[in-house]
């Protein structure tokens, strides 16, 4: 490639690889891909600073479609590869692309430990509540009773709530968005990328082939606003097409949906506070369709990243012992002959 062909300014287009994108027609993954490609150029980094790491699953084809560095790794293990990479080269912008099976089933262990270490990376979790790549078995986020090829009479198991799980691991940034709501998705990705530490974005994603109706009216742009609460820090939790409904906490410390009017006014509603872990946990328990889906930044707080902690320890050790020198180490009294 001649120098002339290298785009000076990063654009969404320049992040597209030469591979034909191969997901099923109508799959939610296309929209997620194009939003990631839109957001990356806004981060002010050169292309070579981006790395996209995936595991196994439909979503994990992602790195092939990005004209960035990437690794298509092992089922469930992407967060561990990303950990190694992010710690070894803190200048990189590391993106883990994963699905509900990859992150929460086989990779559940790595998922929580990456989050609790607060490694500086972004996890985009495509949650379609089914195994797509192996053609339609139930996943760890499938609803109880979900019928699939491996649960012909309905799944017996309770689903995992990825956001509650991330909170248990002391996540410092958690957001949720929806594949068909591209504008919202782009905004959330940008917030996630700016956060220092591990950011988790759960994307409600449509698997049109094996779980097409999972998100029901959320996927209908005319109806969705009655079923979504767009979270804004410091704002009361009002929602609905006509902004006439809200979320309040009742006397049993449970969330409930109320109609705004004579009985309840905005003053009765919860006010979003991204720093509150307790509130985040309650919001995470709001399961559509009984509640509106809570989209936006659910939880965000500043905390030391793993790399920052590591650098502090290195600085501390150097302050006490001086900067290491290989020669003096060899000649040190701590060596012995055998």
């Amino acid at each position: 490639m001649s120098i002339k062909n290298i785009p000076l300014k990063l654009t969404a287009k320049s992040l597209r690889s030469d591979q034909t994108v191969r997901w099923c027609p109508g799959c939610g993954d296309y929209a997620i891909l194009s939003q990631v490609q839109r957001v990356m150029p806004k981060l002010g980094l050169p292309k070579e600073d981006f790395v996209v790491i995936s595991g196994i699953g439909c979503s994990s084809r992602f790195p092939y479609y990005m004209d960035t560095y990437g690794i298509h790794s092992i089922h469930g293990r992407a967060p561990t590869l990303a950990t190694g990479l992010a710690i070894s080269n803190p200048d990189l912008s590391v993106w883990v692309i994963t699905g509900d099976g990859d992150a929460l089933s086989i990779g559940g262990n790595h998922f929580i430990h990456t989050i609790r270490r607060n490694i500086d990376l972004n996890i985009i979790l495509f949650n379609n509540r089914v195994y797509g790549l192996t053609k339609g078995q139930y996943s760890p986020t499938s609803r109880q009773g979900h019928r699939s090829k491996s649960s012909p009479m309905g799944s017996i198991e309770q689903p995992i709530n990825p956001i509650a799980l991330a909170l248990a691991a002391n996540a410092t940034f958690i957001a949720r968005t929806l594949d068909s709501h591209t504008k919202h998705m782009g905004g959330v990705f940008e917030e996630a990328a700016k956060h220092k530490g591990t950011s988790l974005v759960e994307v409600y994603q449509k698997c049109i082939i094996f779980n097409a109706n999972e998100w029901g009216d959320l996927q209908d742009s005319h109806k969705r606003d009655d079923h979504i609460i767009y979270l804004e820090d410091g704002q009361p939790m009002v929602f609905g097409k006509n902004m006439d409904k809200g979320i309040r906490m009742n006397a049993q410390y449970e969330l409930e949906v109320v109609e705004l009017g004579d009985e309840f006014t905005e003053a009765d509603l919860l006010v979003h506070n991204v720093k509150s872990k307790a509130l985040a946990l309650m919001l995470s328990s709001m399961e559509w369709p009984n509640f509106p889906a809570a989209l936006g930044v659910i939880h965000s707080r500043e905390a030391q990243t793993y790399t920052e902690g590591l650098e502090l320890q290195i600085a501390d050790a150097q302050a006490r012992k001086g900067v290491g020198n290989l020669q003096s180490l060899y000649a040190d009294a701590d060596t012995w002959e055998i």
Partner: protein
């Protein structure tokens, strides 16, 4: 009972059901998933256990637990999943619990691809976990043989209290062929050693693979080796065709064994003195038979595999260094063609 056209993965799953498998634990992986899906339908309707685990690591340890209770238990997977199970495999053999695993092999290393391959030969016969042991490995080449081998695998696992693999490749798993299913077996009573609650017994049954102290572990390993030698003595299985006067013998298993068979038939028709040795047990390996054939006058062996030459080493070891052993193989997901095998065999025959 009549023959029925049936998909390989489904046939092997149904054979396991009929052999009295009472507990199945597995994780979806191509090209094995239909096996799991068939179990998802059949096990609950028979009042037996089906559980989709969160990973292959979980699945094998669930199998370990279920088998310890004395029921016939199994899992199924493919190369990457079997790699993950290694830890459990070693503990299962170390605690002498009977377990059956069906491996529908695909291409490796790493993620490789989902095309048929025989990339797990070494992993299954030699490196299935740490310690000194080999699992029994059965390698059918047709769906009917697969059905029969699954039935046998449970009997061998119980008889020797050991780990038994039935290894097919994606081609056998995915294709359809007429096969006759065995009748439904009665469920087997739980054996004496199993974890069933102490009840009237004087001794507790404890399932463990820890043998503290050099003597204890040494004694256990001696006992284990004696068992493995007994398996080698009694359980070698193979198919031999037109080997007695053969100048050249093609050695191949599973799908490549099947292709090799048509190549050998062709060459025989053309008047070439060619035979086929198709190992059905990959471990114990038919080394003695191969050695006898080499001693009996066959000086050329052609090993055909859908990998880069894994069984090849066992054949070389069996026949010795004076014998011309050559290899034809493919790794990457394509099945060797009979013509290619014929060509390679002809080239070997032409050299004196």
């Amino acid at each position: 009972m009549s023959k029925k056209l049936i998909k390989g993965n489904v046939a092997l799953a149904e054979a396991a059901v009929r052999a009295g498998c009472q507990a199945y634990f597995g994780y979806p992986i191509t090209p094995q998933t239909e096996l799991l899906e068939h179990m998802a339908i059949r096990m609950p309707e028979l009042g037996r256990t089906f559980l989709q685990a969160e990973s292959e690591v979980a699945a094998i340890n669930m199998v370990y637990g279920a088998a310890s209770s004395g029921v016939r238990a199994m899992t199924s997977s493919s190369g990457p999943g079997i790699s993950l199970m290694q830890e459990g495999l070693s503990y299962i053999v170390g605690s002498e619990v009977p377990v059956v695993i069906i491996d529908v092999m695909r291409g490796g290393p790493g993620l490789g691809n989902i095309q048929p391959a025989q990339s797990d030969y070494n992993q299954l016969t030699k490196t299935a976990g740490h310690g000194d042991y080999n699992p029994i490995v059965l390698a059918p080449s047709t769906i009917q043989e697969g059905v029969d081998m699954v039935t046998l695998s449970f009997d061998l696992a119980d008889k020797y209290r050991t780990l038994v693999f039935v290894a097919i490749d994606g081609a056998i798993g995915q294709m359809m062929e007429p096969a006759e299913m065995p009748p439904m077996q009665e469920l087997h009573p739980r054996p004496e050693w199993a974890i069933t609650g102490q009840g009237e017994r004087n001794e507790k049954n404890i399932i463990t693979s820890i043998y503290l102290g050099a003597d204890n572990l040494g004694d256990f390993n001696d006992k284990l080796q004696a068992k493995l030698r007994a398996i080698e003595e009694s359980e070698v299985r193979y198919e031999a065709e037109t080997v007695d006067d053969a100048e050249l013998i093609v050695v191949a298993f599973g799908t490549s064994g099947r292709v090799a068979k048509s190549a050998v038939h062709h060459l025989r028709k053309a008047g070439k003195k060619v035979g086929l040795l198709r190992p059905i047990t990959l471990w114990p390996f038919p080394s003695k038979k191969l050695a006898a054939l080499a001693d009996g006058g066959t000086k050329k062996f052609l090993v055909v595999e859908m990998n880069m030459g894994q069984m090849l080493h066992d054949v070389r070891y069996a026949v010795g260094r004076d014998i011309d052993v050559q290899f034809f193989g493919r790794a990457g997901g394509s099945i060797p063609m009979p013509e290619e095998i014929q060509e390679k065999a002809m080239a070997m025959l032409e050299v004196n």
